[in-house]
Symmetry: C2
Subunit: 388 residues, 2 copies
């Protein structure tokens, strides 16, 4: 593939042939007059090309445009400006697919294999928790929660995405409070728990905070790539001093993807773009969780991530009763991420984690999750709480 | 105002009271169990509050939620994560207004007054051009175009937003080629032309490129805030070494604003958010240009910008024949920005610039723009080309 190929979908009634040509010219070299006649060859080399236009039975059309690689040899910021910048203002059109040549983009440093190495778990699904409540806890509260969860076997924990670096709970103070717990767990059990710390601030502060946190011992980071920009994620992924896994949160993606006729498909925004920006793991909603999300959209995001070795992290409304469904969809290459589904377990955080591992064992053995077949214990309590 | 107030619009059929409560709780501290009963006061202080819910005659509803300032004392990245992060995935809702306490956000350093000082034009509308063709020109071509335009009196020129830092036309080479022209014009006419150079790359590269360019003499920068992220704009605006006006481009804003029921209003995305991130000038479409844009939306964006002294830059399809309309809408506090409307003037770039100044003079004197009343000259040629 010699260029960057983008497929646009147009609603019924739009002349897709015409729009595709407008995109191929208007989003590239544009038109030029007599003055540049002697530069024509050079200018033409920057024009986009309409590869394909088709109208489907529902009246929508799809057009694929190929952009010369020379127009955007690197950078997701420039890529998005090129493929949907000014044209996003021109009328209803939605980007439904994006393909770049092999080697284009920032490769993740960890991905599935690297994260598995870091937590020392070669093959089973990983279990991840979110510190809850999101706001209002002290750094010491975080340490208490982490202790309960980590000694129960948790693999990864993360800040809530809406917890920025605020005076009452500074991110460096959270790290200072939690690092001794991570070390204590490591010494006692041999196991390293990853703590994905939420980055915030101006772009320069995000990059500097990441460096400082990692130098002080942070072993994972959480990036709100949609609200901070993919170029910030790219910078983190390229920084040799930020050598920890980067977890990408989908916050704000609905602003780009929620509409039918505008914006971009979730598979692009939560799949292709994070992958091209160096994400190691991406949180995504499921079609049976607490957010509305279609099965096909979830499947397409998952496929984009897995194709490049990036960990999918089904999230939002995940609880132990859903473990069989998650495994049916994802197999073992998955990080199951629960907030209240762990933290609000009726017997506490540790029981919340144990319920997940009990569920993993039970699902692995093909055992029933019907209430009457599950023995008393953390899983049964979780099922009572959430699976009705 | 003690908090950050956000107004959401819901389509007909949505229970706005219910959704507003979900937002006020789910996008803040959330819920908590017995374990944190002794922290209740502290946690409650982080909860959002539904201020107002109303249903309009068209069936849509509006709800205003107030977020505690403590949840997001600074940073547009954290702000967007808070006000529309996870909830953006929850169902159709659109942010139509955003108000922050005075002092919140990054103030622009230049704005209308600073840009007027830089170009030495105290009160008339400013005229800005875009280098065209967008891609395929050499740095020397840029210098030739700039020379023609600047000696004709142009105030500001900018790169096309889709021209990144590519090997055949490096941004530093463009600067090296154009600086002598800017200096030559300054010596000959006493006038400084601003050249807003397009930034690209990873976030760290954007910030570093900005510093290098400014240290080498660049006097303005162009930021694709939507594709690079508002936190990148905030970082540029806060960097003491990047002490030049920042022009914000609206590329990609349609992805967030195009739909009726999802995303955010243009007045927020091109008005409130750039203003809070330190933009000095913001390019916006007009309701009579080459992009579809409503008069009311344009007016709301304009008002958001002017209220904080940020220059509105009507763009896209602007040509000399539209000068009376632009002035009728904006008065003098406006930068008129034309790409092909200058560069494709039948008598060349310099005539394209002169046509704008002729139009400004004529409009200022209240003279007719009817073809038969306009004397032969650059303006008449422009009218023949574009005003039929």
């Amino acid at each position: 593939m010699s260029g960057i190929e983008v497929t646009y979908r147009f609603p019924p009634g739009v002349d897709a042939h015409r729009e595709a040509k407008i995109i191929a010219i208007g989003q590239t070299a544009g038109t030029w007059g007599e003055r540049w006649a002697d530069r024509s060859e050079r200018l033409r080399a920057h024009l986009g090309q309409v590869l394909d236009v088709m109208t489907l039975s529902d009246g929508t059309s799809r057009a694929t445009v190929r952009y010369p690689l020379a127009n955007c040899p690197e950078g997701v910021g420039a890529l998005l400006t090129m493929i949907y910048g000014k044209y996003s203002l021109a009328g209803p059109a939605r980007i439904v697919a994006l393909a770049v040549p092999p080697g284009w983009g920032t490769r993740c440093r960890f991905g599935i294999g690297g994260i598995r190495s870091a937590v020392g778990v070669p093959s089973r699904p990983l279990v991840m928790a979110i510190f809850k409540p999101s706001l209002g806890l002290s750094p010491e509260d975080h340490a208490l929660i982490l202790r309960d969860a980590a000694f129960a076997g948790l693999d990864i924990i993360k800040d809530d995405e809406i917890l920025p670096d605020i005076p009452e709970c500074r991110v460096q103070d959270r790290l200072k409070a939690c690092l001794p717990v991570i070390e204590e767990v490591r010494r006692a059990t041999g196991k390293t728990v990853l703590y994905a710390m939420n980055l915030s601030g101006r772009a320069d502060q995000v990059l500097e905070t990441a460096r400082v946190l990692v130098s002080e011992g942070a072993n994972a980071l959480l990036v709100n790539a949609l609200t901070y920009g993919f170029p910030v994620l790219e910078a983190l992924a390229a920084d040799p001093d930020v050598n920890v896994p980067l977890f990408v949160h989908p916050a704000f993606s609905g602003a780009l993807c929620g509409s039918r006729d505008w914006g971009l498909d979730y598979s692009v925004v939560l799949g292709t773009l994070p992958v091209l920006s160096g994400a190691d793991a991406v949180l995504i909603p499921t079609h049976y969780g607490s957010l509305p999300f279609s099965e096909s959209e979830e499947g397409r995001v998952k496929n984009e991530l897995l194709a490049r070795g990036v960990f999918p992290v089904p999230s939002a409304g995940i609880h132990p009763g859903l473990v069989p469904r998650v495994i049916a969809d994802y197999g073992n290459e998955v990080i199951m991420n629960a907030g209240t589904g762990i933290m609000d377990h009726p017997e506490g955080t540790a029981a919340g984690v144990r319920a997940f591992f009990e569920a993993l064992d039970r699902a692995g053995q093909g055992k029933s999750f019907e209430m009457e077949n599950v023995p008393e214990g953390p899983l049964k309590s979780a099922l009572r709480q959430w699976s009705r």
